[in-house]
């Protein structure tokens, strides 16, 4: 009997995780609502002056997006671990690292992509000019991708812990600092009409690196957590 190919297994896992995410729609809505709330509160707390807001928009949007994307990470492997489906993935004969890539991709589609899509709306409300919106969206797409990949390692490592959520944030956020620095800098440059090619290329390189190496670490961490 022919076995399922790796691509079919990855596609099945990606589709299943998306179906599950949208059946629990609050898990998809929660990061977007958090992102909206934080960026809406900034003008209330600092200043409604658009010129002032424009100066800090890049940093505010990036910090809010990273924290929002962090919210959904805990659910990445916990439910699969609790109901035994993670064990079945490990025993399916498919490479666990590649299934981890599919799960990370599904997590980004459900948690990262909605943030990227609503970011122009929030950026305009913070006084960002339309010319900088492309850079903002691309930088956030790369940044949330990095967070999903690194966050998957943290989620897999803290799987066996009863209160792993705090540890997860402590593990993952410091690792995303380089992305935050270059991402916020890229948006800031675009807001001031400069070409943000340098920081964007560095961000893309970080994204490729984390997407390449993180699944191997996730696979090893999951095997340890399942023992």
């Amino acid at each position: 009997m022919p076995a399922t190919t790796v691509w079919q297994a990855m596609s099945l896992t990606y589709q299943r995780d998306l179906v599950l995410a949208f059946r629990r729609w609050e898990q998809v809505a929660q990061p977007v609502v958090f992102f909206l709330m934080v960026t809406t509160l900034v003008p209330l707390a600092l200043s409604p002056e658009l010129n002032e807001l424009r100066q800090i928009a890049g940093g505010v949007l990036w910090i809010a997006a990273l924290l929002a994307a962090l919210l959904g990470l805990e659910f990445l492997y916990r439910a699969d671990h609790a109901d035994g489906t993670l064990e079945q993935m490990l025993l399916s004969g498919q490479p666990l690292a590649l299934l981890a890539i599919a799960k990370t991709a599904a997590h980004w589609t459900a948690c990262g992509l909605p943030l990227v899509l609503v970011s122009p709306l929030l950026a305009v409300s913070l006084g960002v000019l339309p010319g900088a919106l492309g850079t903002l969206m691309l930088s956030l797409a790369l940044g949330t991708g990095i967070l999903s990949a690194l966050g998957a390692v943290g989620a897999a490592l803290t799987l066996g812990l009863r209160r792993g959520n705090l540890l997860l944030s402590l593990l993952v956020l410091p690792l995303t600092m380089p992305a935050l620095i270059f991402g916020a800098r890229a948006v800031d440059m675009a807001v001031h009409g400069e070409v943000a090619r340098g920081p964007m290329l560095l961000l893309a390189a970080m994204c490729v690196l984390s997407l390449t190496l993180a699944p191997l670490a996730v696979s090893a961490a999951l095997r340890i957590s399942l023992e």
Binding site: A9, A79, Q88, L91
Partner: protein, 182 residues
């Protein structure tokens, strides 16, 4: 212990004797503290993914997603191992008495129906070795008889089964080799 083709091994013992631990070691989920686990003469650690493709494990949990329907659970659970058609899934749902639950999410199924669905996944996986941990839990008399018959068919096909259970399984046409722990 050994399990040969066409053989069923019954792992027995009091609570806490290590039945589940033994089965998890055999499934490669736990490393063996002493000794080795080999499949067809090769240590299972030499190519774990190839070994995993040859057996199907049913643990204490039913490994079902509560937000997916019975059909979707089988489509994914079996689909990870081999391509499966809707007709095959419908057949096995009918055989396990779950045709009426095809479109129901697993969360609304009873404990016995969930166990039947987990058994349906094992039936569809087409693996030569079945490792079943307390497979009769939550099953009614008809369910026990169905599972016993299904295990007998697996042995008739030349497959093997290792079953941890408190009661000796009554497998039609086959006598279980008992391994008493503790």
């Amino acid at each position: 212990m050994d399990a040969a083709a066409g053989q069923v091994v019954h792992v027995a013992g009091p609570n806490g004797a290590g039945k589940t631990t033994l089965l998890r070691v055999l499934a490669g989920l736990l490393p063996a503290e002493q000794g080795d686990v080999s499949w067809r003469g090769q240590p299972i650690t030499s190519d774990f993914e190839a070994y995993a493709a040859t057996f199907c494990y049913l643990g204490h949990s039913d490994a079902l997603k509560s937000d997916l329907t019975a059909f979707e659970n089988l489509d994914y659970g079996v689909g990870l191992r081999r391509p499966v058609t809707a007709a095959e899934i419908d057949d096995v749902l009918a055989r396990t008495g779950l045709s009426g639950c095809r479109g129901l999410q697993a969360r609304v199924l009873s404990a016995g129906q969930k166990r039947r669905l987990a058994v349906a996944r094992v039936m569809l996986a087409a693996a030569p070795l079945w490792i079943l941990d307390e497979p009769f839990t939550n099953l009614d008399r008809a369910g026990v008889s169905l599972l016993s018959g299904v295990i007998a068919e697996q042995l008739d096909r030349g497959g093997a089964a290792i079953i941890a259970a408190h009661q000796p399984p009554a497998i039609p046409r086959h006598a279980a080799h008992c391994l008493e722990l503790g």
